[in-house]
């Protein structure tokens, strides 16, 4: 469970996140909002790339903001990026093993854990291929394997379906739904694809201009009038 209290981020005169208080309980949670709503900035706060002006983030009882950035991955925070970041020069296996090596996981279990993650995403036949020789789709799935290997506690997925054709998006949705049970991690999914969010997330939070405007069961949130207005860009009287 992640509890966010009064989180504010300022870049000069811009406030990409403004007094955000929200909790992500369990399973797969959606985080949506129009462009520039502060979703990626929120992920960057969790990753330690952005220092918030105020606020606290507690994840499974751990004060996340106190941990050094690289230690958060060791603690169990995993993430993917909007532009996939699988390393082209390394093989699929090495890409995933890299994460395992820098986690607290048992090194004797490395091969088994990496192979488990690769078979989970369906890339086990490609473990010796250099990532540079793969297309966009498989690279996205390498990132998912990287996100689930080595006892993850929290998995942040930043538009994981970007650039994927429909049938691969469906495969991806199945994987995302399976992560909490199979790996015991809390998943937060940011995506513009509402069908992916509704297919994967029991609960969803909505950000608009850095403010939380709705949170709750996904179906209810998507029918919330503030959310519809935020997406349609209508004048909001709030």
């Amino acid at each position: 469970m992640i509890e966010v209290e009064g989180l504010t981020v300022r870049f000069g005169g811009v406030t990409p996140i403004d007094g955000m208080t929200v909790s992500f309980q369990e399973g797969t949670c959606g985080l949506i909002g129009p462009n520039g709503a502060g979703k990626t900035t929120f992920f960057n706060v969790l990753s330690g790339f952005v220092k918030p002006a105020t606020g606290t983030v507690s994840a499974f009882g751990e004060n996340l903001l106190k941990l050094a950035d690289y230690r958060r991955a060791r603690w169990g925070l995993r993430r993917t990026f909007q532009t996939e970041q699988a390393i082209a020069k390394l093989t699929v296996f090495e890409n995933v093993a890299l994460i395992h090596e820098h986690s607290h996981s048992d090194r004797r279990a490395r091969r088994a854990d990496v192979e488990d993650a690769l078979s989970f995403v369906g890339l086990d036949a490609f473990e010796r291929s250099a990532v540079g020789t793969l297309g966009t789709g498989p690279r996205r799935f390498v990132e998912i394997a990287r996100a689930v290997v080595g006892q993850p506690k929290v998995v942040l997925l930043d538009e994981p379906a970007a650039g994927l054709p429909d049938e691969q998006t469906q495969h991806l949705a199945g994987l995302i739904r399976e992560i909490p049970e199979r790996y015991g991690a809390l998943v937060i999914l940011v995506d513009h694809d509402m069908s992916l969010v509704s297919a994967c997330c029991q609960t969803t939070a909505v950000l608009d201009f850095g403010k939380l405007i709705a949170a709750g069961p996904t179906a209810e949130v998507l029918h919330n009038e503030h959310v519809i207005r935020a997406y349609l860009g209508t004048e909001d009287e709030l």
Binding site: S47, G48, F49, D69, Y70, R71, R72, A73, R74, L77, R78, R79, F81, Q85, I87, A88, K89, L90, F93, E94, A97, L98, I99, E101, H102, S103, E115, S119, V121, G122, L123, D124, A125, F126, E127, R128, G135, G137, P138, F141, R146, E167, Q168, H171
Partner: protein, 366 residues
């Protein structure tokens, strides 16, 4: 999911990953054969002069290897590698005159102490990269170029610096007891260089190499993967400097006498040209370091031998390096180590083509 479609034999895939592939065996045999040729045939075939040139090639292959790892793997630029070579040479020379420690121990000490200096040089890399880091490391080379003429190199004198001006009777830097002759020292150098390549291989194919790849690819992504960027950047400098320090010790033994003019301010250009040849050789394969050393040490010796023009204008080498670097950067960023075999294959195909067409026509139906 495309991967599902071609998913076959999960178990055989896992088994393949664990066993040694036939290519690896063939490659190991080829490398072993080449090494045996270099160690046993070359000293018999070549004159002492060329053996000394090839000893220098082996030494600079180690220096180039350090930069190859630093830049090719971790993405960190350094234009101060020749200055670190001078530091390694100084340390080795000092210990060789001061103590009767065995040569390999002195090489190790030179490597470790140079690694300490190089790690300090790496500190700016935690904040800087690219051009700024290049300039800072070049300035370090400049500092060494100022210090070296003042301290000079040990030549059997007393005191901390170990240098005496009454150099008429000064001793040559000693070589290992098993490798006094130039031929034996050549073999010794090649073996130490091979060990350095194994050391580099052990790093780039392991956790450190993967961490460096992650850093080179994207620092935020490396942090998100749990890579301690500070530690691994410094470690890249430590490893590269260790190798360069060992090379410095080998260099001291090879030349017998180190002179400050070899590392004077005017020679800081060597650190820059090293970067050029390392890029030309290829930074994504360790073999690129061998090509780099051949370009920097053997090529000028051959040109000197062949052309009087080159003997009178040794700096013409930079024109060749400039054109060569431009050629590589534009047409083959992976370097000569990949480009040359590929071009040779293409040339072979081009030569064979007309013959094949003729035989194909002969076989064709009437």
């Amino acid at each position: 999911m495309p991967a599902r479609g071609v998913r076959r034999g999960v178990d055989s895939g896992a088994a393949r990953a664990r066993s040694v592939s036939p290519e690896t065996v063939v490659r190991a045999i080829l490398i072993g054969g080449a090494l045996a040729f270099v160690l046993f045939a070359l000293p018999v075939l070549l004159s002492t002069y060329w053996i000394k040139v090839l000893t220098a090639v082996a030494i600079f292959a180690v220096v180039a290897l350090g930069l190859n790892v630093l830049f090719g793997r971790a993405g960190l630029v350094s234009l101060g590698q020749i200055a670190l070579l001078a530091v390694g040479g100084w340390i080795a020379a000092r210990f060789l005159f001061l103590t009767s420690l065995p040569f390999p121990v002195v090489l190790l000490l030179a490597g470790l102490l140079t690694a300490a200096v190089g790690t300090l040089l790496g500190l700016p890399a935690l904040r800087l990269s690219g051009l700024h880091l290049a300039l800072i490391t070049l300035m370090f080379a400049g500092v060494v170029a100022i210090v070296v003429p003042t301290t000079n190199f040990p030549n059997g004198g007393s005191g901390v610096l170990g240098h005496t001006e009454s150099s008429l009777g000064s001793l040559a830097i000693r070589r290992p007891s098993i490798a006094h002759s130039d031929e034996a020292y050549f073999r010794y150098t090649v073996i130490v260089a091979a060990l350095m390549f194994l050391l580099a291989l052990a790093h780039v194919s392991a956790k450190a190499g993967r961490a460096w790849s992650a850093i080179r690819h994207s620092e935020p992504a490396a942090l998100a993967a749990g890579v301690n960027i500070t530690l691994y950047k410094l470690y890249a400098f430590t490893l590269a400097s260790f190798m360069t320090g060992v090379a410095g010790g080998l260099y001291a033994g090879n030349v017998g006498k180190l002179y400050s003019y070899q590392f004077s301010g005017a020679r800081t250009i060597d650190s820059v040209s090293l970067m050029a040849v390392v890029l030309m050789g290829g930074i994504f394969s360790l073999w690129g370091a061998v090509v780099a050393a051949v370009l920097q040490q053997l090529l000028p010796a051959l040109l000197n031998d062949w052309f009087a023009f080159f003997r009178e204008n040794p700096d013409f080498l930079f024109v060749i390096f400039g054109v060569g670097l431009l050629q590589v950067l534009v047409t083959a960023p992976e370097g000569l180590v990949t480009q040359f075999p590929r071009d040779m294959r293409n040339l072979g195909r081009l030569i064979i083509k007309p013959f094949r067409r003729r035989s194909g026509a002969a076989k064709g139906p009437p």
